[in-house]
């Protein structure tokens, strides 16, 4: 790979043109990119390569595209795109609906400081950490409750191994690293 100083002007110009092309965010390119991302995520679950996925995987696909819908949001979305309770969702319906979601930023990510605030609200004694029982109580009884399996997995994943408590500040930072985006 030539360094900048080695390049002849002609080559430099070509390189710049290449890059400019890919940077050119015309509306069409942007749309086509969005379509590609959606299709790529969809394909991962399209086992039979026939452009359908099981409705139970839709949540995973939507989340993996960087969206943060609530369970209620998911139900509404699915109701719109599912083929008459067949249990399957076809790309033809998923693509336009999901494109809309992405272009309109319908289910935006939760800002870190808001998340921190949420944990602090649950940490009534201001300890800087949560006991497993505390977290379990809220996660399984309030909001859109977790199943027992979800809860167990969360505790195993987030709890500090030695002290068996959840240092939420650290956890938020850890889990925020998103290599996929």
């Amino acid at each position: 790979m030539m360094s900048q100083t080695d390049e002849t002007p002609a080559v430099a110009k070509r390189r710049d043109n290449n890059m400019a092309e890919s940077n050119n965010q015309s509306a069409e390119t942007k749309l086509s990119d969005v379509h590609k991302r959606i299709k790529a995520a969809f394909e991962t679950f399209d086992n039979a390569a026939n452009n359908t996925v099981d409705v139970r995987e839709i949540g995973t696909i939507i989340y993996s595209l960087g969206c943060f819908p609530s369970q209620a949001d998911l139900h509404d979305f699915i109701a719109e795109v599912e083929e008459d309770h067949s249990g399957y969702i076809h790309l033809d319906r998923f693509l336009p609906a999901m494109t809309k979601v992405l272009l309109e930023h319908k289910f935006p990510p939760i800002p870190k400081d808001l998340l921190l605030q949420a944990f602090e609200v649950l940490d009534k004694d201001n300890k800087g950490y949560l006991e497993p029982e505390e977290l379990t109580k809220y996660m399984t009884q309030e909001g859109e409750p977790f199943t027992q399996e979800e809860m167990e997995e969360m505790l195993t994943g987030l709890a500090d191994h030695e002290r068996n408590v959840i240092y939420y500040k650290d956890v938020i930072n850890q889990l925020a690293i998103d290599p996929d985006m």
Partner: protein
């Protein structure tokens, strides 16, 4: 902020995180699966290639001699002679042997002793191995193709799927479920061997229980109970490694045994259990009547004698639609196969067949003239073809969501069958459920086709530690399946979801990088097509497109891109640097022609398979001439040039000239790819998985 709102936020956030992990896990899974299936497809292609060679080489050519030498079994054909050949009596068990001693007839205590020994990593002496195998063979010969079983009141039958040499899973099943007995019947649905490192131990235990409880233990044949598949996927290697003196005998006996394994089990005339699946042609009445042991290698073919070959060759090269019509009944399996997929005959059988053909010629010729054109094929052969196909379909097929029945191009054998075929076949036979295995499932089991088809897979951590759970079925007289899931290996149970996904993912990515590395010349050519101005950079979009064209694995490269391409500049990839960064080691040998090395890496499995086939006496070594012929064969198959000089150079560099023969294992070891990033860490765990996967 209220606590409800706080809870909602945290739940939403966490669910997104878990979903991202699930996406990664699924991508990883797809990687493993595509590489695995591409390997199977490769295998079948190799055999089609041999067929092609047989047809197109002149009788005088040495390659043809080599191949016919390989595929014609120079074997003793009569059973009595077989028995004499495999007689264990002359084998002495030395005083120094510390493993288990067996007495016959086999008893429950004997099998228990065996299991204990295997738990303690002991090895059974070859004498006892041959004894058990001999007894097993004798028993299997009297069993029918389809076992009809009934579940009595108060009883439950246990059904297990693929085990693939994972002894710890079998032991876990026995621990959780209890050992086989007349009160506890079992069905084992094929693929006992290959990939895992205890294939033989599993077989011995299963055979042991079969001998003790022949009415309560039922074994179905899987597509891996096939000695040609074993050459590639590790079982042959395992045997030869564990039994240096008697390995060959053991392998030959196993070959016989595999061919005698029953094909299916039916419970209460309602539940059908087969390893792979069905096709729209599946007919249990036909299957019941076949001579299953004649179809010894569903993946191989027998090449006919001269005269018939002339006919086939003529037909094939003419390619006329009319004759093609006659020889192409709804062809589903091994569809790339030019017609003849004859069974592997012994010499005696061959003679019998020829006599029969000669006798039949007139009458069948008359009959067939009316329905078809030119020279007729004796009806016997047509039926053989159909029978063979029925069996291949049972062992290799996979279900698909859409209706219909199409050739299984991914595996290269059997078909994909849809829910309509399930309904039709089950109806026709008055059955209510099809239980099959053959495909790894994350939770160990999975329903499809309106819960009329159930896949059961019993090898946990199949692709990698943490990749999947295994499961088994318990079923009572109500014929409703109940599932028990498990995951062997203490370490993986302690892993969190994140760690487990991470671990599996790293392993898959390693396997993928290996694939990328061996294709680097082709990749660079493909990249350069997108870079006409030779800037050394291409866009990510082009990177993904070129990579898929070269590797043809059907993977979502865009999704995988972040893990495979570390640095990009303004959305562009410096592809030369990227290839360098794949950081897979090069061998230490100095060879002038490096392209032969790349061929070597790319075709690692094929090369090893060919080596092992050539090594007909399973001695573990081949002569220089055989070595040279292997390379020649490979170069024909790949349609690339590999010069004699390059081969001689290669041979010289590994310095085998001293005794004129080459040790296959050593040779393959020298060229096994080792990921540089593993340097300094314990590699045993990883490489043991990779060796069997490649």
């Amino acid at each position: 902020m209220s606590s409800i709102r706080a809870a909602l936020l945290i739940q939403r956030w966490y669910r997104q995180y878990v979903a991202r992990l699930e996406m990664r896990r699924r991508c990883t899974w797809n990687i493993f699966q595509s590489i695995e299936y591409a390997g199977e497809q490769d295998q079948i292609k190799l055999y089609n290639f041999f067929g092609f060679l047989m047809d197109h080489f002149t009788p005088a050519s040495s390659e043809r001699n080599l191949i016919s030498h390989i595929f014609r079994e120079n074997e003793i054909c009569r059973d009595i002679e077989w028995e004499r050949y495999f007689c264990y009596k002359s084998i002495e068990v030395p005083e120094s042997y510390t493993g288990p001693h067996l007495t016959f007839p086999m008893t429950f205590c004997g099998v228990s002793k065996l299991m204990e020994a295997f738990k303690h990593k002991q090895q059974l002496h070859a004498r006892y191995v041959l004894q058990i195998l001999g007894e097993t063979w004798r028993l299997l010969r009297i069993l029918p193709n389809i076992n009809y079983v009934s579940v009595c009141h108060n009883q439950e039958i246990t059904i297990c799927g693929d085990l693939h040499g994972h002894l710890e899973d079998l032991l876990l099943i026995f621990y959780k479920n209890g050992l086989p007995s007349s009160e506890k019947p079992y069905v084992f649905n094929g693929d006992f061997v290959d990939r895992g490192k205890n294939s033989l131990e599993i077989l011995l235990i299963l055979f042991g229980f079969l001998l003790v409880y022949p009415n309560d233990v039922h074994l179905n044949r899987g597509n891996h109970e096939d000695h040609i598949v074993n050459l590639r996927y590790g079982f042959t290697k395992e045997i030869l490694g564990k039994y240096r003196v008697h390995g060959k005998k053991i392998l030959k006996l196993l070959q016989k045994i595999f061919s005698w394994l029953p094909l299916a089990t039916v419970i209460d005339h309602k539940v059908l259990i087969v390893h792979g699946g069905i096709s729209d042609m599946t007919d249990l009445n036909v299957i019941e009547r076949v001579d299953r042991h004649r179809v010894r290698e569903p993946t191989s073919r027998q090449w006919q004698q001269e005269s018939e070959q002339q006919e086939w060759r003529g037909w094939r090269t003419s390619g006329s639609p009319a004759s093609a019509q006659r020889h192409n009944p709804p062809r589903r399996s091994l569809h790339n196969l030019p017609i003849s997929n004859q069974l592997s005959w012994s010499l005696e059988d061959e003679l019998k067949r020829r006599r029969r053909l000669a006798g039949f010629d007139q009458s069948y010729g008359e009959m067939n003239k009316s329905e078809s054109d030119s020279d007729s094929e004796p009806a016997g052969t047509e039926t053989d073809e159909q029978e063979w196909k029925q069996i291949v379909d049972l062992l290799w097929s996979d279900p698909m969501p859409q209706n219909g029945c199409i050739p299984n191009e991914v595996r290269g054998g059997g078909c994909y069958w849809g829910p309509d075929v399930t309904e039709e076949v089950l109806e026709r036979h008055n059955l209510q459920l099809l239980i099959r295995s053959h495909e790894c499932k994350q939770d160990g089991y999975e329903f499809c086709h309106n819960r009329r088809v159930l896949t059961i897979f019993s090898a946990s951590n199949y692709y990698e530690v943490g990749s999947n759970r295994g499961a088994y079925i318990r079923m009572g007289p109500d014929l409703v399946p109940h599932f028990i899931q498990y995951q062997a290996s203490r370490t993986c149970r302690e892993l969190t979801l994140t760690q487990s996904v991470g671990w599996t993912e790293r392993s898959a990515l390693r396997a993928l990088r290996e694939q990328l590395f061996v294709h680097k010349s082709d990749l660079i050519s493909a990249f350069q097509e997108f870079d006409p101005n030779n800037t050394g950079m291409i866009s990510l979009r082009h990177w993904a497109s070129a990579t898929e064209t070269v590797l043809n694995l059907g993977l979502p490269w865009r999704m995988l891109r972040p893990q495979l391409v570390n640095s990009t500049k303004y959305g562009m990839v410096d592809y030369q640097q990227w290839i360098r960064e794949l950081s897979i080691t090069e061998p230490k040998l100095e060879i002038s022609d490096t392209s032969i090395l790349e061929t070597m890496y790319k075709n690692h499995s094929n090369l090893e398979t060919i080596f092992r086939i050539i090594d007909t006496d399973h001695s573990g070594s081949i002569s220089f001439e055989e070595f040279r012929q292997t390379w020649k064969l490979l170069s024909s198959h790949l349609q690339t040039e590999i010069s004699d000089e390059a081969i001689a150079d290669l041979a010289q560099s590994i310095d085998f000239n001293k005794d004129g023969s080459i040790d296959i294992n050593e040779f393959m070891e020298a060229f096994r790819l080792v990921d540089l990033s593993l340097k300094g860490r314990s590699t045993d765990f990883y490489t043991s998985q990779l060796v069997y996967m490649s």
